[in-house]
């Protein structure tokens, strides 16, 4: 489908421009906030000379434009610099922490779509009936609290008072799983450790639901509203007068057209999860990018700050592109923007 390629190409190009902008911005901001990174890294007992040496090594005495030039030059060589906090390449650090965050966000996103859309469709089909009211109240509840509040509530209810789920972490410490993809759900399967898979899955449930709940509510409400609007369309009256079954109409002929307007918002919700994940990770001591991000900001670890922000922005943009492609995929009007006949 050539139109999809054009969309992809355009979006990749604008994303690239956005990333350049973001890099400039975060590069400047990281350097404006007070504190001398070299001094913080070496500690209060280091000699003035040692601090001066480190500053020179990091090109901190040059103008910010020259510094940015060095940064871009290294970036083009796949190098985000060394973290002063971990003394390892920033890229290596991110490679270690990002998958945990992504795993959480992907599972939460999946839960949002897999539960929110059907709930909305069911509520619309049984509009005004008991089940509709139940779903509407539940979804209102979902959107009424931010995810870190849900994280605390779920943790208290299902890990503390009713100790069904683990209270923190990604997996029980006794398992050692070789990191291949960094996604524990995949790595455990690759290693053939099915008990470890179950354990990792069990750890994921509370944080993923905490992250997904408001999205579920949002998706259900949107889908319901769009479905109800769609039910007034002539093509639904047509489907009814041709005797298409109510089930087929609810799950197909009214569902797909309603999905199109919902998708954009659901995509935005999904991307917003990347940000919300930081707080949920903090509550559940999830070893994701948030812990690393907070630590490097407190230490004014310039390379790590810039690297973390850039990677998160890139992930955000990629998610957006994927959502746009999905929208093009379900909406033939975008796929075939030319009129035949």
């Amino acid at each position: 489908m050539p139109t999809s390629f054009i969309i992809l190409f355009k979006r990749l190009f604008t994303s690239f421009i956005v990333l350049i902008g973001v890099s400039m911005l975060i590069f400047t901001i990281a350097r404006i906030i007070p504190g001398d990174p070299a001094r913080i890294a070496l500690g209060p007992n280091a000699t003035l000379e040692a601090v001066a040496n480190l500053r020179a090594n990091l090109h901190l005495d040059e103008s910010i434009i020259v510094q940015y030039g060095y940064f871009i030059w290294n970036l083009l060589h796949g190098d985000l610099g060394i973290s002063l906090y971990t003394n390892r390449p920033v890229l290596l650090d991110i490679g270690q922490f990002l998958p945990a965050t992504l795993e959480l966000v992907f599972v939460a996103g999946f839960i949002m779509v897999a539960i929110g859309l059907p709930l909305g469709a069911i509520a619309a089909r049984y509009r005004g009936k008991f089940i509709d009211h139940v779903i509407r109240i539940l979804s209102l509840l979902g959107v009424s609290a931010p995810s870190f509040v849900w994280a605390v509530i779920l943790m208290l209810m299902f890990a503390f008072y009713l100790p069904i789920f683990p209270i923190a972490g990604r997996i029980t410490d006794s398992y050692t799983i070789q990191a291949v993809t960094g996604f524990l759900l995949l790595d455990t399967l690759i290693a053939g450790e099915y008990r470890a898979f179950g354990d990792a899955f069990w750890h994921l449930i509370l944080p993923a639901f905490a992250l997904a709940l408001s999205g579920i509510g949002q998706a259900a409400r949107l889908t319901r509203a769009n479905m109800i609007e769609t039910y007034d369309k002539p093509y639904i009256e047509m489907a009814q007068s041709y005797g298409f079954s109510e089930k087929r109409i609810a799950s197909k002929f009214a569902f797909k057209p309603s999905l199109i307007p919902s998708m954009t918002i659901i995509g935005l919700d999904f991307a917003a999860m990347l940000g919300n994940a930081f707080l949920v990770e903090a509550v559940f001591a999830w070893p994701g990018l948030s812990r690393y991000g907070v630590a490097v900001i407190l230490r004014k670890d310039l390379n790590a700050i810039v690297g973390t922000v850039l990677v998160i922005s890139a992930t955000f943009l990629i998610v957006n592109i994927i959502v746009d492609l999905l929208i093009a995929f379900i909406n033939p009007r975008i796929r075939f923007s030319t009129r035949r006949s």
């Binding site: 002539p234 009256e237 047509m238 041709y242 057209p257 075939f336 035949r340």
Partner: protein
């Protein structure tokens, strides 16, 4: 066995709301014989579409609708059928053509997908490939030269006239006994509308399909229908063979209508100002119409 395809007697309809009942149909009677093309004409809001929706059994599912009267389809009492039995008639024995073909087709599924769904009403196990072939054959019947291309298109990729042909083919593909056409093609331009109506005329004649033709447009009705009912504010005011009714309208409302229409371009029905209380005179039934059994 001169059983009518459709027989309606004293059909009443009201909508309940929190302010009370609003009556929409005040006891209309109407019948259509096998292979007969009957028009129902009247101004906007007179109750044409609700009549169609009652015949299809769609309005019966609306909790606010209060319906009474005789409704017989091929001698079967529709009011005694269960919701499921009524559902079984839709898309098989009865089908429908809508005012705006482009918006009556689903914008996110190809024509082929929708045809397959319609065909499966009669042949539930029908394979996709066979459905495609049957649909293509039906499209050739409505003078579409490249049915494969049309079947693989979406409604927004086709012209209004093309969509109208698709709708006609879809409505007739299961060989229904009764076709209801609610202002078919009013949304199309006049020449395209005339063309597609000719096609429809030819096909229903071939298949001996009974048609309830709902329209605003007296010119079109005159060409298409064997017999005409004039409806005014939920009451039938005149009924008769097309020729007779047009040449010799008897009811004051019909007369006002006929004398008003020539002034309106396109022959659409104007809303006649409610000047005469004679508009609520009892219905005039032309004797030669043969409408009574």
């Amino acid at each position: 066995m001169n059983q009518p395809t459709l027989n309606i007697e004293n059909l009443q309809l009201g909508f309940k709301s929190h302010v009370g009942m609003s009556k929409v149909l005040h006891g209309i009677s109407l019948n259509i014989r096998k292979g007969e093309r009957v028009a129902l004409v009247g101004e906007s809001g007179s109750g044409k579409s609700v009549t169609a929706r009652i015949i299809l059994g769609l309005l019966q599912t609306l909790p606010t609708a209060r319906i009474s009267g005789v409704l017989e389809f091929e001698g079967r009492d529709l009011t005694k059928l269960s919701a499921k039995q009524r559902h079984a008639l839709r898309g098989t024995e009865m089908s429908m053509i809508f005012q705006d073909p482009t918006s009556a087709l689903n914008p996110v599924y190809t024509i082929a997908v929708q045809f397959t769904e319609v065909l499966r009403r009669r042949q539930p196990k029908l394979k996709k490939l066979l459905a495609f072939e049957q649909a293509a054959a039906a499209l050739r019947q409505v003078a579409i030269d490249e049915p494969e291309r049309v079947l693989n298109s979406y409604s927004f990729q086709l012209s209004g006239g093309m969509n109208q042909r698709v709708m006609i083919a879809m409505a007739l593909i299961n060989n229904p006994t009764l076709l209801i056409a609610d202002e078919p093609g009013t949304a199309l331009d006049v020449s395209v509308q005339a063309q597609t109506l000719d096609l429809m005329h030819k096909l229903v004649q071939e298949h001996q399909t009974s048609v309830l033709f709902i329209s605003h447009n007296l010119g079109v009705v005159r060409d298409f229908a064997d017999r005409v009912y004039v409806i005014y504010k939920g009451r039938i005011v005149e009924e008769g063979a097309t020729q007779l009714l047009f040449s010799n309208p008897q009811h004051p409302y019909t007369q006002a209508l006929m004398s008003a229409v020539p002034r309106i371009t396109g022959g659409g029905i104007p809303n006649i100002p409610d000047v005469s209380d004679r508009y609520s005179d009892p219905a005039y039934i032309h004797p030669a119409s043969g409408g009574e059994l």
